[in-house]
Amino acid sequence: MDQRLTDALQRQPGVDDWTVRYRRARGMQIYLVGGVVESTREVARDSYEIEVFNDHLADGEAVRGSATIPLAREDLDRLPSLLDRAIAMATLVHNPPWDLPAPAACPEVLLADDGLLDPAGMRRAADGVAELVRGAVDQEHGSGVRLSAAELFLHRFDDELRSSRGIDVSATGTHALMELALLATGDGEEAEYFRQAQARRLDDLAVEATVRHGAQMARDKVRAVAPATRRGPVVIVDQALDQLFGESVIGSTGALLNQASASSAYAKISRFELGSPIYGGIEVTGDRLTLHANATRPHAVPSYRFDADGVPAQDLLVIADGVLVARPATQRYATYLGLPVTGRPGIAQIAPGSTAAADLLDGDGPLYRIAAFSAANVDALSGNFGMEVRLGYEVGPGGERPITGGSVTGNLFEALAAARMARETRQLASYAGPVAIRFEVLQVSGE
C-alpha cells in the first residue's frame, strides 16, 4: 500500500475516520473458438478505494457523512485536491452515526490456489486448461459433440485494508472462471450446452468432468421436448441450485440472505422477522431449512478474511429449523439496529436433509428434475421467481426424458415449506448444500 495515501489522510482536516482498500490484481485470459485460440490477454491493475468520514451537525442532529472515492494510479499524485473533494462530499451527506470496527483477529481462510500465485504458473495453467478442454471434447466427438467456444480467466488478488481505527490486514486470493459452450448434433438438430463456472482453485472447475457432463446435457437437449403444464413436484439439481439460491437479480447474495440481512431490515423491506419462521405463514410439511452465511468456507468464491470495513469473516447461522435466528449485519447496519456485527455474508450454505438424492425422485406421478435454468431470476424482495427451463428431465415410471423451454414459477420462501433436502452435498459458485432439493408444489408452464 502506498504510504502517501495514509499519510495524507492522517493530515487532512475534516477527516474523522477513514478506510483505505487496496487491490493488486494480475490476470491471464485465454479465448478459444472451435479449439483455435482467438486471443490471449494479460492484465494488470493496482486500485485504491478510500472512504472518508466526517462528523457534523445537520438540523441540530449529530450525523456522520461519508464519501467513497476509488482512485486511479495517477490520482496518488494529486491527493490533496482529491481529499478536499472527498471531504466536501462527506459534509453534504447526513447519516445516523456509526463507528468503524476496532482491530480484531481475522481467521486464516483458504482463498488461493497455490498454482496460480505466480505469473509463470498462471500461464502454464491457462495453457493446460486449454489442452484439457480440447482433449476432453475430442473424447466426445464420436457422440456428435464439438467445442463451440471456451474462455478461461485466471486472477490473483492481493488485498490490503487499513483504517483510522488501527486495522491493518491483508489477504491473497485467486479466482478462476471458465465459460464453456458445447454443441451437439443429432437427427438433423443441433443444441448447445453453455456453462459459466467459477472457483478459487483450478481443480474445483473439474474441467474434464464438466466437459463430459456438458456433452451429455447437450446430447440430451437435442432430443428434449417442451414440458407439460402442471403443478406438482420439481427437483432442483446442478447449476439450477446456484441460480435459485445463490445468484439473484437484485442482490448478489441471493433472496434468502438478502431478506435476512440487517440492511433490508433497516430499509424496511425485509419480510423476515427474528425469531419467526421464514415461510410466509405456510405450514411446514418438508425439511425445516437451516442456512448459514459462511464467509470462512474453504475455497468458496464468496469467502474472505475481512470485509470492506475490516470485520473478520464468520460462519453465521442465519436460519435454524426454518426460523430466522440472526441477521447478517455489516458494521453500519448492526450499529443502526443494535445487532451483533457479522460482516458481509459469505456463501449461502444450506444444511443437508436425511433423504438420499435418488430417493427424492420417487413418487407415484411424474415429476420434473431441473438441471439448468436459462438465467437466475429470483426477486429478492418477494421471493417470487420465474425461470425458463434450459434443460431438465421428466421423471416417471417409464424412465427419464429431457425437457427444455417453458418456465418454473413460484415463491421461494413459501415453496421451501414443502421442500426436502438430499443428504449428499456439493459446492457451487454461490451455493453450498444438498445436491438436490425437492419442492412438492411448483408451477411448470409448458405446452
Binding site: 485470459q29 479465448y31 473458438v33 472451435g34 483455435v36 485460440v37 482467438e38 486471443s39 490471449t40 490477454r41 494479460e42 492484465v43 494488470a44 491493475r45 493496482d46 486500485s47 461519508s66 464519501a67 472515492i69 476509488p70 486511479a72 494510479r73 495517477e74 472527498a86 462530499m89 462527506a90 453534504l92 451527506v93 447519516n95 445516523p96 463451440s148 467456444a149 472462471l177 459452450a181 454443441l183 443444441a191 448447445e192 453453455f194 459459466q196 403444464t229 437479480v249 433497516y266 430499509a267 424496511k268 423491506i269 419480510r271 443502526y336 436459462s374 426477486d379 424482495l381 417470487n384 420465474g386 425461470m387 425458463e388 427444455t404 423451454g405 417453458g406 418456465s407 408451477q443 408452464s445
Partner: protein, 480 residues
C-alpha cells in the same frame, strides 16, 4: 447525440480533446513500432469521471465512480489476437508492455490448419467527438444534486400513504477514450446520466414495489421526472398489492415499449452478434435473407441514436458508428460485428466491438437495439385485445440464440377484455416462447417510440451500457 464529425465541439470539449491528443500522442509511435513486427496493432485508452448518489429513508451515500483508467494494446501475429492492459498510463510503462506483447504474439504459433487472420481497416482516421449536453451535470454542485434528487425522492415517498421506502439513485459520468491505429487517432467523450426511482409499498401483510428510470447519453435534460410520472409509479406499486398470478397459457398480448425493447434485445440482438456466428452458437447465421417475423417486424441497432444510453461515436475497435438494420419487413438482414469475427467470417464491419473495460476483451455487442414504429396507435392496439394482457415493465431477459427460445420477466401485466382493462393485474409474469413464433404473430405495431436504458452482459459477464426499446407491439406468447 450524433456521430456527425462536422458537429463542432464545445469550447470545453474541444480543450479536453486537445489535451487527450497531446497526452496520448505517444501511442501513435507505439502502434507504428509494433506494426514493424506484427501485421496489426492498435491502442485504446479509457478514463472515466463521475459520481453516484443513493438516497433512501435513513441513509444517503455519495461515491465517485471507479475511474477504470487504463490502456489496452492489441497485436495480431497474423492468426490470432494478443492483448495486454495496464492501469499505468506512463509512456515508458506502455512502451515496455508493447515490447512484451509483441514478443508474446510472435512467440505464439498457429494451429497446423489455422487460416491467416486478415484485418481490413476502415478508419477511424482523425476525429474528435463529444456528447452534446444541454444541461451539463458538471455545472451543478454536489449539494445541488443532492437537493434536486433528494427532493424527487421525497415527492415519490409522499405519493401514497402506503409507501414504506423510496429510493432514488442518480449517476453521471464522462467516459474519455482515445483509439489509435495506423489510420489515425480518435478522441471520444461520452456523457451519460441516470436516475432510477423505486417505491416500496405495504398494506401490512404484503409488500410490493414499482420503479421508474430515465437514462441517456447527454445531460440532465434527459432525466426530468414529472409529478404525473411519480403518480404513475405509486399507482403501479399500490395496484400490485392486489396482484394475482397469471394462469399459465398462451395469450394475445400488447407489450409496452420497455418490454418491446427487451424482446428486440433478447430475440434478435444477442443472436445477431457475429462472434456467436463464428462459434456456431447462433441459428440466425443460417437465416440471413430469410423470413423470421411478420412483415411488420423491423429491428435496428443504432449507436448513433439521439440520447440512447448505448450510444457512442466510435466502437472500441476503431469503427465509426453507423446504424445496422437487423430485420427489415420480417426478413433477417445482417449481424453485428466485432473486428475478429468480421475478419474470420469475411463480413463488412459494423461498429459493435465493445469492451466492459480495458481489462476485458472486445466482443460483438449491441448498442441501442429497437423495433421501429408502425402505423397504429397504442390505443388501437389495446382496443384490439378481446381477451389478453398488456405486458409492462420488463425487468430482464435471457437470450438463447441457438435454440431461439426466449425468457423475459415482466414486472406486471394488466388484463384486457373487449378492449378495456378489467382492473385485474398479474405479477410477476414470465414470458417464454419460440422467437420466430413470437415475431410471426406480431400483428400490430404502434406509432409511438421510446428507448429504455440498461446494462447488458455477454452470458453473465462483460457488462456494457445499452439502450433498447421501440413502439408497442401486439403479438401472442406463452405466459406463466
Amino acid at each position: 447525440m450524433t456521430a456527425d464529425p462536422s458537429t463542432p465541439l464545445s469550447t470545453t470539449d474541444g480543450a479536453a480533446a486537445a489535451e487527450l491528443r497531446h497526452r496520448f500522442a505517444f501511442l501513435r509511435d507505439i502502434v507504428a513500432d509494433m506494426e514493424r513486427q506484427v501485421p496489426y496493432a492498435a491502442a485504446m485508452v479509457r478514463t472515466r469521471e463521475g459520481i453516484r448518489l443513493d438516497l433512501r429513508d435513513g441513509e444517503q451515500s455519495a461515491s465517485r465512480l471507479d475511474p477504470q483508467d487504463g490502456v489496452v494494446l492489441t497485436a495480431s501475429n497474423g492468426y490470432h489476437l494478443a492483448e495486454a492492459s495496464t492501469d499505468d498510463l506512463a509512456p515508458e510503462a506502455v512502451r515496455d508492455m508493447a515490447s512484451q506483447l509483441v514478443e508474446r504474439a510472435l512467440g505464439s504459433r498457429p494451429a497446423p490448419d489455422e487460416q491467416p487472420l486478415v484485418i481490413a481497416l476502415d478508419g477511424p482516421g482523425e476525429a474528435d467527438f463529444a456528447t452534446a449536453a444541454r444541461i451539463d451535470p458538471g455545472t451543478l454542485t454536489l449539494g445541488e444534486k443532492l437537493d434536486r434528487f433528494g427532493g424527487l425522492r421525497r415527492r415519490l415517498r409522499e405519493a401514497d400513504a402506503r409507501s414504506v421506502q423510496a429510493v432514488c439513485q442518480y449517476g453521471d459520468s464522462v467516459v474519455r477514450q482515445v483509439f489509435v491505429n495506423r489510420t489515425g487517432l480518435v478522441t471520444e467523450q461520452t456523457r451519460r446520466v441516470l436516475v432510477a426511482l423505486v417505491l416500496f409499498v405495504s398494506d401490512g401483510s404484503r409488500q410490493e414495489y414499482a420503479y421508474f428510470q430515465r437514462a441517456a447519453t447527454g445531460g440532465l435534460e434527459h432525466v426530468e421526472v414529472t409529478d404525473e410520472q411519480l403518480a404513475g409509479v405509486a399507482e403501479v406499486a399500490t395496484s400490485l398489492l392486489q396482484a394475482e398470478s397469471v394462469s399459465p397459457g398462451t395469450y394475445d398480448v400488447v407489450t409496452d415499449t420497455v418490454t418491446t425493447g427487451t424482446i428486440a434485445h433478447e430475440a434478435f440482438g444477442h443472436g445477431m452478434e457475429t462472434d456467436m456466428f463464428l462459434k456456431e452458437r447462433a441459428r440466425g447465421a443460417d437465416y440471413i435473407g430469410r423470413r423470421v417475423g411478420s412483415d411488420l417486424v423491423n429491428i435496428v441497432d443504432d449507436p448513433t441514436a439521439a440520447g440512447g444510453y448505448g450510444s457512442y461515436f466510435v466502437d472500441d475497435e476503431g469503427q465509426r458508428a453507423t446504424p445496422t438494420q437487423i430485420i427489415r419487413d420480417g426478413m433477417l438482414q445482417r449481424g453485428l460485428t466485432d473486428l475478429y469475427s468480421a475478419a474470420r467470417l469475411g463480413l463488412e464491419r459494423t461498429a459493435n466491438g465493445r469492451r466492459e473495460s480495458v481489462q476485458r476483451k472486445a466482443y460483438a455487442r449491441m448498442s441501442n437495439t429497437f423495433f421501429t414504429p408502425g402505423t397504429s396507435t397504442r390505443d388501437e392496439l389495446l382496443a384490439s385485445l378481446d381477451d389478453g394482457i398488456y405486458l409492462c415493465a420488463a425487468e430482464n431477459g435471457m437470450e438463447d440464440p441457438k435454440g431461439w427460445g426466449i425468457q423475459i420477466w415482466a414486472h406486471y401485466g394488466r388484463e384486457y377484455r373487449g378492449g378495456k382493462p378489467t382492473g385485474r393485474i398479474f405479477s410477476p409474469v414470465a414470458i417464454t416462447g419460440y422467437v420466430p413464433d413470437l415475431l410471426a404473430d406480431v400483428s400490430m405495431v404502434s406509432t409511438d417510440f421510446a428507448l429504455d436504458a440498461g446494462t447488458c452482459g455477454k452470458g453473465w459477464k462483460e457488462l456494457v451500457p445499452v439502450g433498447s426499446g421501440g413502439p408497442h407491439l401486439r403479438t401472442r406468447c406463452r405466459l406463466g
